[in-house]
């Protein structure tokens, strides 16, 4: 098993006729993903690369039974595209688009609250279940099928981590790039929960960054709920304190957000934290070994 995606996932691409939409559609299909439809308003009826294009997601779902959407719609229309997917009965929407205004995402996130659709992103590399299905812009070749779940706020740093895992002989069950925007769909905890329940996943690697309090929240959740070993890396230990305006950010985060705080909290909650970005694979091996010892 895996989480979110498998070989039966049927994918519709929103914004398929755009340059990067089309490029990555081809890449995903070459990887083996089952791309069944595209949506571009006004271009319904044509075929692109042999894929039927519809005017609406609803039509695409009706004719092709698509259950996953990959969104490449440009920022002004991206939030609307997410809502359209939710309305059409899509189960998982992966929004790659970078640069969606906050106001649009506040409303979109509120509207999909309580709906069955899961949202990954926006501004994320996507989701991949190695050897089965890729929905996103990550390079497929670095992945290897296995038992490690990967969840990350970063894009390219995730590729680095996955490459190190693969080189350490640790294949992946599913890799989820949740995105680095202030407002995202699934958060660390939502993904960790799925990995916790997935019988194929034996351990999880988590990649965080400075800013916000999501890593701290995840750390506490792991201590209370996680049955599997977790290793992590936090980027930005040496990042200089930025220029900032005002106090509001500091008030609501209560001073959270620094790399040291995140690393300390994760370690306190039993997570093995990689001391360097060159040792992410090692940290995962160490976490698995520690867990192995515990079992004995």
């Amino acid at each position: 098993m895996s989480i979110l995606l498998n070989k039966d996932s049927k994918i519709v691409v929103q914004g398929i006729t755009g340059r990067s939409g089309l490029f990555h559609t081809q890449q995903c299909r070459d990887y083996g993903s089952h791309i069944v439809a595209g949506v571009t308003p006004g271009k319904g009826g044509i075929h692109i690369e042999g894929i039927p294009v519809f005017n609406t997601v609803e039509e695409a779902v009706h004719y092709t039974q698509a259950n996953v959407s990959m969104i490449f719609v440009p920022p002004p229309g991206a939030a609307d595209a997410i809502l359209e997917a939710a309305d059409a009965g899509i189960e998982l929407a992966v929004c790659i688009t970078e640069g969606i205004p906050i106001r649009d995402m506040v409303l979109a996130k509120r509207i999909i609250e309580g709906k069955k659709m899961r949202l990954v992103g926006p501004n994320c590399p996507g989701v991949i279940t190695p050897d089965e299905c890729k929905v996103g812009i990550m390079p497929g070749y670095i992945h290897k099928r296995g038992t490690i779940g990967v969840v990350s706020r970063s894009g390219t740093l995730t590729y680095e981590a996955v490459k190190q895992l693969t080189e350490a002989g640790l294949g992946q069950s599913t890799c989820v790039g949740i995105g680095g925007d202030p407002i995202i769909g699934m958060k660390f905890i939502d993904v960790l929960d799925l990995f916790n329940k997935d019988p194929e996943t034996e351990g999880v690697f988590m990649i965080g960054e400075i800013g916000g309090g999501a890593e701290e929240d995840a750390a506490h959740w792991i201590r209370e709920n996680m049955k599997k070993p977790v290793a992590a890396f936090i980027a930005g230990v040496t990042a200089p304190p930025g220029k900032r305006m005002g106090h509001a950010g500091a008030i609501i985060t209560g001073g959270k957000g620094k790399a040291e705080d995140k690393i300390r909290t994760l370690a306190e909650c039993g997570v093995t934290v990689a001391p360097s970005p060159t040792r992410m694979g090692e940290a995962m091996l160490e976490a698995l070994q520690k867990a192995g010892r515990k079992k004995k």
Binding site: R110, G155, E209, A239, G246, P277
Partner: protein
């Protein structure tokens, strides 16, 4: 995107939120004239893109126009260093001269995005002023936070609860309700990431007034607000950062001598971390982004080289969206154009990686290939030895 206090106050004023009478001065003589208009006794406020100005001497009450002029002269010639500017401080190019207002009480009021709830929240406190973060840390019960449901918006009864919690009564309380509702409307219509009024005051005459204001626009919403770029004060930004912005590159100048070019913010941060681990000092943070073109990479390279501290360059590109041969061509073009002889270490991974490496090795540049992140970082540190 940040704007100055005086610009923020113009926006508040347009939304019916009272602000002190004021004028913007670009020279010390204009400061004097403005002070005369205010009747001599006035507040002189340096306009910079950071908070903490008061304690740094950037905000002062003066009693005569001559005194205002003197202070103006002083402020225009120095870099103001506050806890929020970083150690290099910021130049002062504009000064706001305002009427002195007799203050009875001070409050804190702001609207910003709360990542945890994915909603805007209103933050208010009866303990306004400069120590607000300390108040928040030590006595969180004095901070009132209201999370706003975007379906209902901010309702008058919610604004009233906040106004009452601030200890306001009677007509001032109702004025405050209106002010809070207007602030929320402003926040949405202007696509703000932050609107902060600190302090919001009740004057001795019994009026509410925004004594200081900060607005930070959501960069992602620029396409809805074509006028925003005109509001930028370029004197507040690093020249290289401005150039980078033109090409949609994210660049931050640092203190070291290794120029860095990386794709993706997380990997860029990790690259700085690993350089430091091996004893190197990065000269900058530079994220060329996901959809970088050859042109973008070339510009990024030029921007790195404009920094005279740079003695070598570390390129760390993990392709996914990007093709390595395209990156290599961008590097070669830019390096040839500016006759770069510095050592360059390129670590590339992703599609067309072999083609990219080949192009670089055949380019005649002083370039080495890093086999992985650690190897690349070690090589550049060693080359600069």
């Amino acid at each position: 995107m940040n704007i100055h206090e005086y610009q923020a106050k113009e926006i508040l004023n347009a939304y019916g939120i009272p602000v002190p009478r004021g004028r913007v001065a670009l020279t010390a003589d204009q400061v004097e004239r403005a002070a005369k208009m205010m009747g001599g006794r006035c507040v002189v406020k340096a306009q910079i893109y950071a908070g903490g100005r008061g304690k740094a001497g950037g905000v002062k009450l003066v009693h005569h126009p001559e005194q205002a002029q003197e202070l103006g002269k002083e402020l225009f010639t120095k870099r103001l260093v506050t806890p929020q500017t970083g150690p290099e401080g910021l130049r002062v190019r504009r000064i706001l001269v305002e009427e002195a207002v007799e203050i009875a009480r001070e409050f804190y009021l702001s609207l910003t995005l709360d990542r945890e709830t994915s909603r805007y929240c209103l933050i208010a406190s009866a303990e306004g002023g400069v120590e607000i973060e300390e108040v928040a840390a030590k006595s969180p019960d004095k901070i009132h936070i209201l999370t706003i449901d975007p379906f209902t918006g901010l309702r008058p009864y919610q604004a009233r609860k906040i106004a009452l919690a601030l200890g306001l009564t009677g007509s001032v309380c109702e004025d405050c309700v209106e002010l809070i509702l207007n602030l929320y409307r402003l926040c949405l219509e202007k696509d703000c990431f932050l609107v902060e009024v600190n302090p919001l005051v009740v004057t001795k005459a019994g009026w509410l007034m925004a004594m200081d204001a900060k607005i930070n626009f959501d960069d992602n919403a620029m396409f809805r607000h074509r006028e925003y770029p005109d509001m930028l004060d370029y004197s507040q930004l690093d020249t290289l950062e401005i150039n980078a912005g033109k090409y949609d590159l994210s660049y931050i100048k640092l203190q070291g001598n290794i120029g860095c070019m990386v794709n993706g913010a997380g990997l860029a941060m990790a690259t700085l971390d690993v350089l430091k681990e091996f004893g190197g000092e990065p000269a900058n943070f530079l994220d060329v982004g996901g959809g970088a073109t050859r042109e973008k990479v070339a510009e990024a390279f030029k921007i790195i080289l404009q920094d005279s501290d740079v003695k070598g360059i570390f390129v760390n590109i993990f392709g996914g969206i990007m093709r390595c041969d395209v990156i290599a061509q961008g590097i070669i073009e830019a390096a040839s154009e500016v006759h770069c002889t510095f050592p360059i270490v390129v670590r590339m991974d992703g599609s067309k990686v072999e083609e990219g490496k080949q192009l670089l090795l055949e380019s005649g540049l002083n370039v080495q290939i890093g086999e992985n992140l650690g190897d690349g970082a070690q090589r550049i540190v060693k080359m600069l030895g």
